[in-house]
Amino acid sequence: MSTALHKDDRVIDLGRAHLVAMKELCSSLVYAALLTDDGFEVVRLTKSEIDGGRYASMASSMQALSEAVARELRIGSGEYTIIASQSGHVVQLRVPGHPLVLSALFDNDETLGKALASSRQTAEKIAAVLTAVP
């Protein structure tokens, strides 16, 4: 049985490197997590008051519900899930081709467009590296 992604050091290390790079590109990034489809945190950029395990579980549920709604409405597969709030926005999306989700919290200094673009870019980079890993 292969190692679970959230316990795989290679996945944790490359995830961390990409989240750090994402933060360097987007100063408004407050929190970011890479998680498994079923809600286990792989790695996160910390914000101390956020419970990482709970965030990962909620992000997993949110991803699954978003995709269930998209299926029900027959509008194709979900691209992003977005929560826009007074003090920030959460953007999350799948890491293409892998049972992983990238979830990120930005403050309001960021435009939603840039948040979406940097999230997508990071997810695609993680996917490319994971696919290349033997």
């Binding site: 992604l5 498994t36 079923d38 809600g39 709970r54 549920s61 699954a64 519900l65 269930a68």
Partner: protein, 188 residues
Amino acid sequence: MAEHVILFAGPMGSGKTTAIETLSDIEVVATEAANTERDIVDKPTTTVALDYGEIVLGDEEKVRLYGIPGQRRFDFMWSILRERAEGMILLVNNDAPDAIATMIEYLDEFGELYERGGVVIGITRTDISRTPAVADYSRALAKARPGLVVPVLGIDPRSAEHMRMALMALIINIEMRETWSTREAETV
């Protein structure tokens, strides 16, 4: 049309999604994700938000069926869906480690549903693990929570007959409680 909201609870692998699929008249809304914990329960996917189905009983009763994730890390979904529910079918897989203790834990967690409408307990996978016997669950329940009147049934979530029997038992219980509550209110 009268409506009821029923919660399906129980540990991962107890058969909640299958039970709702068996009962539902509509295509079930499922939120399955790849299961990372194959070492704990060896199944490819697991529910991470909810399952939703519907069944119409007779001409006049629509029952909304909600399944919750079995893992405690999703307990925020338990809280959300518990608020809506009138009763619960608790499924416990007989091959779970310490299945009887698991049953008691879930009953305590969802005790308000017993108070609100009722609970039916279904013991699943008795074909995989013969012990404990269904009667052992009833005895343990009577000892741990005396005064609690909860039917305990051996059940196969794939069986429409079994699942309808469990659901009907619960709905009848809920409706009897509603009738009693109405009578009490009229008396006062």
